[in-house]
Amino acid sequence: MDIFISSEHIISSLGLNTSEHLDCIESEKTGIKTINNSELYPEPVQLGLIDRNALYNATASMVDPKAYTLLETMMLFSISQAASQSNVPLDSPRTLFVFSTTKGNIDLINPKQATNLPSERRFLSQMAQAVCNFFNNPNKPVIISNACISGVLAIDIAARLIRTGMYDHAVVCGGDVVSEFVISGFQSFKSISPTPCKPYDAQRDGLSLGEGCATVILSNQLQQTTKPSIRVLGGASSNDANHISGPSRTGDGLFFAIRSTLQKSNLQASDIDYICAHGTATSFNDEMESKAVNLAKMSQVPINSFKGYIGHTLGAAGVIESVLSIASLQQQKLFKTLGYQQLGVPEPITVIDRTAPAQLRTCLKMASGFGGCNAALIFQTVN
């Protein structure tokens, strides 16, 4: 059974829709800025924040700002924007909602943040249900909270569930907001760079945090649009079984996820035209990915990371970056890895260092996360 991308939408520090993102990427503009907000962190820190005023303006007629959290508002906006470009019915029992988030409404447990919202919304299932109810979807939402691979998993799980025959369509929505909770945590790991991150670069010195939300609507029916159609092929997860906060030193876990993804898609390494990687710009992650890519015999395949533009958006990352890699396929263009200048990983990989046209059919998306988890997924043009 073929699973198609019916429509998509992104919000992040680059803007409130996918074309704003692509404009910024073409102009090599980053959304990561120095933020001096003592409520978020005692010192200035590099963050990719969304324009919250613009979001609230855009949702004023649709969403009561007192009834939903910031993350829920992002999700409601993103899903409705994606839905407006799709003929998939959101309120049908044949449509499943699948969510991806690492921390959800975590600010609800912060006693310093005044809120009138029920504290039950700190539970991810309540958050997801609030979003589903808004669209009158009758199904129990599926929620994945699996660190930074959640977004990639969510798209794969949605496709798998459509293939069971229980559903015809799925709305996949991934989101996370930047919070004091998360900034303080990553700072305690000393893993945040003082400048916008530099994936795979010899001078890379840590990640940049970002926030965002993206939606992908999947369907087992092909919807003709002006843009080239994209299908979702196989996906897989794996575990390094090595360390809970550092990746494998060999890259074998991620390699197993890639290998399984290729097998499920009936493809070989030579079929992959482009890799949209995780590329957080930490020393260990980028090194591990270079090893996994070589184990998979893909050292010559053009590879990039989008995190130099938007930061690491955690539970949103897998969905946002999948949408951007789908845009690559649709536009027949490879986008530069912003922040990258010189290869600084131990194994050779072909990092995309300028935006340029390319003949692309098949893209491998991959991600890795705390807990030793890895995920991979393949997108392909229909023709």
Binding site: N110, P111, Q126, S145, T164, E180, F181, G185, A236, S237
Partner: protein
């Protein structure tokens, strides 16, 4: 071919008991705080593992359940690590540890965020701990739902194992309330072929085991 997998063993940890395949393996006579209960339950196995003491409560709960489960029914030695999977779920994600981290940052004059706590503010870390101990490198995922969804779980594990990659899969519900006081763990092993208990992995069979007193 769509043969359902089999449930080959299960472990339940709730109130003051650890049960495996319906038999009590450990019980505490007095009411203990969660941390103390789990420590005692784990120590009773007599299989020391120093990393246990660094884990947060959610990981201690899931790890202990997995240890008891695997003691009764280990993974087949013939399996490659990529043929072993793990699928967990709960309601409260990592809220118990999230509360600890939140407390470490709420007061700027008493500010002590720590990587040792922060790393556990993700529910899938318990999966990581179980994978490390048991060399599990296959498919793994953490779902969130209001209650243990036996229908979804049976369907999902069935689908996963029908791909013929995962031969043994640990799966279940590892729930810890955000105040750390209430816990409910149900872990089971699914096997593609072995069937010692004559129990197929169906929603009904799973619900019957989970609801057993």
């Amino acid at each position: 071919m769509n043969t359902k997998p089999y449930i080959t063993s299960w472990c339940r940890i709730q109130s003051n008991k650890v049960c495996v395949n319906g038999d009590v393996q450990f019980t505490s006579n007095e009411a203990l705080a969660t941390d103390e209960f789990l420590k005692q339950a784990f120590k009773a196995m007599n299989k020391p593992y120093m990393k246990f003491y660094k884990m947060d409560l959610l990981s201690k709960l899931g790890f202990t359940a997995a240890e008891y489960l695997l003691q009764a029914n280990p993974f087949s030695e013939l399996l490659d690590p990529t043929e072993k999977g793990i699928v967990l779920s709960n309601r409260s994600a990592s809220l118990e540890t999230d509360t600890q981290h939140q407390q470490s940052i709420v007061d700027r004059d008493n500010y002590f965020p720590s990587p040792a706590v922060f790393v556990y503010t993700l529910p899938n870390i318990v999966i990581g701990e179980i994978c490390i101990k048991n060399a599990i490198k296959g498919e793994n995922i953490f779902f969130i739902s209001d209650h243990f969804d036996t229908c979804f779980t049976a369907e999902y594990i069935g689908g996963l194992m029908s791909e013929n990659r995962i031969k043994n899969c640990i799966f279940g519900w590892i729930e810890l309330s955000d105040d750390g006081q209430f816990f409910d763990a149900f872990l089971a092993m699914a096997s593609a072929s072995e069937n010692p208990l004559n129990k197929q992995l169906t929603a009904e069979n799973l619900a019957a085991l989970y609801n057993q007193q």
